[in-house]
């Protein structure tokens, strides 16, 4: 093993690297908050009140904390999905569609037994519904993965196309065959899922559910997968240098498809948990916007599971707190989107942040764009 001196050096290096790794994202968030404040001011609002309202809404009470956790859960799954793909050298912009498909599949498995008059014990029904969602998401992502592996078709455009296809298909399904037949229903949504398919909340009076705990566990699992297992080694090698991966005997095509499938499974899991633990059905429009947010979270969290958990909680807090902010200050919740866009901007262009704050650390540049291949 490493010598004691190497171990101490290693520890110091780890602490310093962690501090450095946190520094740029923190500064990026800070800068975005400042610029966002300017945007709020220019729209006629008071930035301080806005941010106070935001904070209060996100963390100001037990209920607020619970809601923040609820909002963060799908972000954690979706952020992990995008990050895993990044590590494999792939750009999964399709988290949105994979999530939607996972939600639809979960909902279907959730309500179908009721409609057919069949009873399934919860111990089977819940894993079935959740697993079904993961599988649906995995398939949805594996298709562009296979296209990339075997035809060289770039996954950026293909995953985006799959998003629109998913949107169209779910619109069709939710307005048609899967629509809630309840005569009082006016929306494009599924019927409620069976009681046996529902994941219970942790406390009876709050909305926070076991899905949040699952998300944290999955984050640890993904960390272990990527850095401790052989499969993770293969995924990362393909992501860093596909030529060397081939030389090393790795089946690049197979690894590409597996990476996308895993990524899609995580995104599908996000949708499945929303259905089984929170909404107990799937409604059109409920999964909107997670896809791009997931990309921002993955970048903010530097594709590291721990960072993603933190970034997800940040985004979840912002979404949750925004309602309170709007209530108190009349500033529309949409300003959150602008701030999130700015965070992403400053994280991506970390050179700007480095320049503003005179930070000197050199880090690896994330380069995924290798042209369109083909």
């Amino acid at each position: 093993m490493e010598t004691p001196k190497e171990q101490t050096n290693g520890l110091i290096k780890f602490l310093r690297d962690s501090a450095n790794a946190l520094l740029i994202p923190l500064l990026a968030v800070l800068t975005a908050v400042i610029v966002g404040g300017a945007v709020i001011a220019s729209a006629g609002g008071n930035p301080f009140n806005a941010y106070l309202g935001l904070f209060e809404g996100a963390f100001g009470s037990t209920k607020a904390l619970s809601e923040t956790a609820v909002w963060s859960t799908p972000y954690i799954f979706a952020g992990l999905a995008v990050a895993l793909a990044f590590k494999g050298g792939l750009f999964n912009i399709g988290a949105e569609g994979q999530l939607a498909f996972g939600a639809v599949a979960s909902a279907l498995i959730g309500y179908l037994p009721d409609q057919m008059g069949v009873r399934i014990p919860a111990a089977i029904h819940i894993p079935l519904a959740v697993g079904g969602g993961m599988l649906a998401g995995a398939i949805w992502a594996a298709i562009p993965g296979a296209l990339k592996a075997y035809t060289g078709g770039h996954e950026v455009i293909n995953t985006i196309m799959m998003n629109y296809i998913a949107l169209n298909l779910t619109s069709f399904l939710l307005n048609g065959p899967m629509r809630d037949p309840d005569p009082l229903n006016l929306s494009a949504r599924t019927p409620e899922i069976a009681l046996s398919a529902r994941i219970p909340p942790i406390f009876a009076v709050l909305r926070i559910h076991w899905g949040f705990v699952l998300a944290l566990l999955i984050a640890v699992f993904i960390w272990w997968l990527l850095w401790k297992t052989t499969l993770g080694f293969e995924i990362r090698t393909v992501g860093l240098n596909p030529d060397a991966a081939k030389y090393a005997g790795i089946n690049v095509k197979r690894t590409t498809i597996i990476t996308m499938a895993l990524s899609g499974a995580l995104a599908g899991l996000a949708g499945a948990i929303e259905v089984t633990a929170l909404n107990y059905r799937h409604e059109l429009g409920f999964s909107s916007g997670y896809g791009f947010d997931a990309i921002a979270i993955a970048l903010l969290g530097k594709s590291n599971p721990m960072g993603i958990v933190l970034a997800s909680i940040l985004f979840g807090a912002m979404r949750n707190g925004a309602t309170r902010m709007q209530f108190l200050t009349q500033i529309p919740v949409d300003v959150i989107s602008v701030i999130q866009g700015l965070i992403l901007l400053f994280v991506a262009a970390d050179t700007i942040v480095r320049f503003i704050y005179r930070v000197r650390v050199q880090e690896e540049r994330v380069t995924l764009t290798r042209g369109w291949g083909g």
Binding site: G153, I157, F292, S337, G374
Partner: protein
């Protein structure tokens, strides 16, 4: 010019037209259907054509631009906003308001392009991430401002959407527009005409002028261009800005020519489909235009099938579902990208930041 690819284009368009004719012929004569489809195809292909041209200018110079969608969305919003300002607040007549709107749209596209250029060229951010940033910011800003300006009582419009100045009028070319069947091609709105003209202008510029030679050099082998004294960064910035103007004009189509209102996310993937058109056209203006016509035809088919809803025979009932038919452009895009229609070769240095 790749004849095989043009052949595929012709066949696919014929098939798409054919489906509509077969279904609708009991209600409308085929020739009229053809005319209507042609006119619609060329019109709806407009944003795709302009988006593809935007992609061509950027990528021929070596910068991958997936932010075209965001640039179009922002241009659609700000162009519409400007026309509303001019019309409702400054009291301009409709047509001048719309024209000013078009210029505002082009400017918005250029500004977002400037952001993308700075991220990609100066800060050397990964270009796909940079493009994603543009898209996210565009969605955020347009969503926020849309809500703030039109749904907040305190805003300048008083919380209502004012009466819009309509859409740009069509321009009819006298003798050509009277040709039977094909005459409809020559009766189009200005942005469409501009788009077609720009296709040919871009072809000339790219392959016959000094600017085009240097642009392509910078996209193929920037170091070679550097060694003969060409300023790589300048060429890339300039071309990305031109691309932004193209995308801006494409965005103007949505709110100033097609309909006269703004919906969040109304560009609906057209910016991304433009990229597929560009790839299919092998990064050439005329090829990309042909590809965008294919997508236009798919959309025209979707529109016309809705008109002929009742005539769709039961075994083809799925065609009645607009959501299902609406899948056509996206499926087509994916099919094209598999390269089953032939290999495409991007500019050699596409996507790589240049370091001296």
């Amino acid at each position: 010019m790749n004849w095989r690819r043009f052949g595929v284009v012709a066949v696919v368009i014929a098939v798409l037209f054919g489906v509509v004719i077969v279904i609708g012929k009991s209600q409308t004569p085929p020739l009229i259907i053809i005319t209507s489809m042609l006119t619609t195809t060329i019109a709806v292909a407009t944003p795709l054509t302009l988006g593809a041209l935007s992609g061509i200018y950027c990528e021929r110079a070596g910068v991958v631009n997936i932010g075209i969608e965001g640039m179009m969305l922002a241009a659609a919003f700000f162009g519409w906003l400007a026309s509303l300002y001019m019309n409702s607040i400054f009291g301009f007549a409709p047509t001048p308001s719309l024209i000013i709107g078009v210029f505002a749209a082009i400017l918005s596209g250029a500004l977002f392009a400037l952001l993308h250029a700075a991220l990609s060229i100066t800060f050397k951010v990964d270009q796909i991430i940079g493009g994603t940033v543009v898209n996210i910011l565009a969605i955020g800003v347009t969503g926020f401002l849309n809500r703030q300006l039109f749904f907040e009582k305190n805003s300048i419009f008083g919380g209502n959407v004012p009466h819009a100045p309509g859409v740009l009028p069509s321009i009819r070319i006298p003798i050509l527009a009277d040709i039977p069947i094909f005459g409809g091609i020559f009766d189009q709105q200005p942005i469409t005409i501009a788009a077609v003209a720009l296709v040919f202008i871009t072809h000339y510029v790219l392959f016959y002028t000094r600017w085009g030679l240097r642009t392509r050099a910078v996209g193929e082998h920037p170091r070679a261009a550097d060694t003969v004294g060409i300023n790589v960064a300048f060429m890339r910035y300039a071309n990305v800005l031109i691309g932004g103007c193209m995308a801006g004009l494409g965005g103007a189509y949505f709110t100033l020519q097609s309909v006269s209102s703004f919906e969040p996310l109304m560009t609906n993937g057209r910016g991304f489909i433009s990229l597929a058109a560009m790839i299919f056209g092998n990064w050439s203006p005329i090829g990309s235009w042909a590809a965008s016509l294919v997508f236009g035809a798919a959309q025209a088919m979707q529109i016309n099938l809705q008109i002929f809803r009742e005539l769709i025979p039961p075994q083809w009932a799925f065609l009645q579902q607009s959501y299902i038919v609406g899948l056509a452009p996206y499926l087509l895009t994916m099919l094209i990208l598999t390269g089953v229609v032939g290999k495409t070769i991007p500019p050699a240095a596409d996507g790589q930041p240049y370091e001296k």
